[in-house]
């Protein structure tokens, strides 16, 4: 009943076999469901039909137009929301009293379903892409601000005291100490933020839009083009997974780069000290 090994090894042939067998079983179960007659005809289309629909979607110019709109809305909204979130986090991070005043409200709002704010965004920004950008900004704001604040709180006080002893200005302290020290949680927040921004845009497009992948999906559902609904859903999943993976790799690269630059700066300092001593 008790497993004794705590560390998980890397990908083994057995794990690979489990993955392949599971994927084959899922596809076989799907295929069996599609021919079983349990559901109305066409509600669970065959895997091949869905693949054909995927190819048709990818070959359609309209798909790329909608993809472009969704990505534009997501990235612009994400950029706006993240910049505001980082600024708010820095202000709250520098003032612990302000943080204690505002953090409960940010935490509370962060856990609410953002979709309920859509009517307000539609009323303020209209039904065009601006309201979708605003939704993306709202969705991205909370993970970024919460992650950055937690990063600020975790900065070792010794680093701040070193900065004070060197007589750094407030801006220099932010640039040279705070931002590098909290880069990890900030990047994690940004990764969560982009995922939330995409989800936010898609929900807004489904609710009210005439462009974008969310609109494309709901239009296919309304027209009862079931294989297309499956195809668009999978393509959206693939796009968001691709973006998530890209951001994760960027985060790893930046962490490595940061560690490398810290190591090289430490080496430079120790060389200088050694020279002085000599």
């Amino acid at each position: 009943m008790i497993a004794t090994v705590r560390r998980l090894p890397s990908l083994t042939p057995r794990v690979l076999i489990i993955k392949i067998v599971t994927a084959v079983c899922i596809l076989a179960a799907w295929e069996a469901l599609s021919v079983s007659g349990l559901f109305y005809k066409g509600i669970v289309p065959s895997v091949f039909e869905v693949l054909r629909a995927c190819v048709a979607e990818v070959a359609d110019k309209g798909f790329y137009r909608d993809l472009g709109y969704t990505l534009l809305e997501s990235f612009v909204g994400f950029a706006g929301g993240s910049v505001i979130a980082v600024a708010v986090a820095i202000v709250l991070g520098l003032n612990s009293y302000a943080r204690r005043v505002c953090e409960p409200y940010i935490n509370a709002l962060g856990g609410t379903p953002k979709i309920i704010f859509l009517p307000i965004l539609f009323l303020i920004f209209g039904l065009g892409i601006e309201s979708k950008m605003a939704k993306a900004a709202l969705s991205a704001f909370f993970p970024v601000v919460l992650s950055t604040i937690s990063g600020f709180v975790q900065i070792p006080p010794v680093l701040i005291r070193v900065g004070e002893s060197f007589g750094l200005t407030r801006w220099q302290t932010v640039r040279k100490i705070y931002l590098p020290a909290m880069s990890e949680p900030l990047l994690t927040g940004l990764r969560l933020g982009i995922a939330m921004a995409i989800i936010g845009v898609l929900s807004a497009e489904i609710s009210y839009s005439n462009v974008g992948l969310g609109y494309r999906l709901i239009q296919s559902a309304d027209q009862f083009k079931i294989p297309s609904v499956y195809a668009i859903t999978f393509l959206i999943f693939a796009v968001s997974a691709l973006i998530n993976t890209a951001v994760m790799h960027l985060q790893r690269w930046m962490s490595k780069h940061k560690r490398g630059s810290v190591a090289s700066s430490a080496a430079k300092v120790s060389t200088r000290l050694a020279r002085r001593a000599a």
């Binding site: 998980l8 083994t12 609410t112 995922a195």
Partner: protein, 261 residues
């Protein structure tokens, strides 16, 4: 003539006031400013409702749209979805802990699914199960079950081997070791999973209610908006927001009882 010292108010003096009092005061000031801006038409009433109107509108909302009934419906759906999540995630999370190869094979998939926009599956479930509460339960279940599985597995993986060895040295049976050592040690992580599962379930249920126009709280928001009842829309948003904040606060408090750190 005595030279009296003038006690000027400084911003640092504010720190004597408890943060929650300042927070509430700022919220009140913000509400008053907004009330004035909307009353003087600085902000058009067609865009923003007066805060007083929106708060009083909660009574109208109860009378016209049965707010309490909507809350009951939403929480009923969340409760059923959460029970299903527990039934599925507790054994599956434990299974993944026991079988490392399966854990390695599936954990990556689960993490990818967790980041995926699962709510997009709702048109498919609507086609399969119809525009009803079963679709809402399934759409609440799917995003909630994944963090619970991950946390159950993580909880058991985090049990220190020393504790298990102590149990073995006392000649405890595997069942006793599970119930007396492993489960209590994994409980904090499992409860974090419960909290995340409930939070994601509630968020998704309200989101799908809003989009599909079936169910409770989400429907009230979309219904008021499509009637272009601006104060009503704001009242519904305040109600949905208040309920989710209270819900998250309550589960946070329960989690703290289990995780006292």
């Amino acid at each position: 003539m005595p030279s009296g010292r003038v006690n000027r108010f400084r911003l640092t003096d504010l720190q004597m006031v408890p943060p929650w009092v300042t927070g509430l005061a700022l919220l009140f000031v913000f509400g008053c400013v907004l009330e004035w801006a909307v009353a003087t038409n600085l902000i058009p009433r067609t865009i923003v409702a007066r805060p007083s109107e929106a708060i009083i509108g909660l009574i109208t909302l109860q009378r016209e749209a049965d707010l309490l009934g909507a809350i009951r419906t939403t929480f009923g759906i969340v409760a059923i979805a959460f029970l299903l999540e527990c039934v599925a995630a507790l054994p599956f999370g434990y299974f993944l802990y026991r079988h490392r190869d399966f854990s390695l094979a599936y954990t990556g998939w689960l993490a990818a699914l967790f980041a995926a926009p699962i709510f997009l599956l709702y048109p498919l479930f609507m086609v399969i199960f119809g525009r009803n509460q079963l679709t809402l339960i399934i759409m609440g279940f799917l995003p909630g079950v994944i963090p619970l599985i991950i946390n159950v597995q993580q909880g058991f993986l985090g049990v220190p081997q020393t504790m298990v060895n102590v149990g073995l040295s006392f000649d405890l049976t595997p069942r006793q070791i599970f119930w007396k050592i492993m489960f209590p040690a994994a409980a904090p992580s499992i409860f974090t999973g419960f909290r995340l599962a409930l939070m994601y379930t509630l968020i998704n249920v309200i989101a799908i209610e809003y989009l599909v126009n079936v169910g409770g709280l989400g429907v009230i928001v979309s219904d008021r908006y499509f009637r272009f009842d601006i104060p009503g829309t704001y009242s519904a948003i305040i109600a949905a927001m208040g309920i989710s904040i209270a819900f998250n606060w309550a589960i946070g408090q329960i989690e703290r009882l289990v995780r006292p750190v």
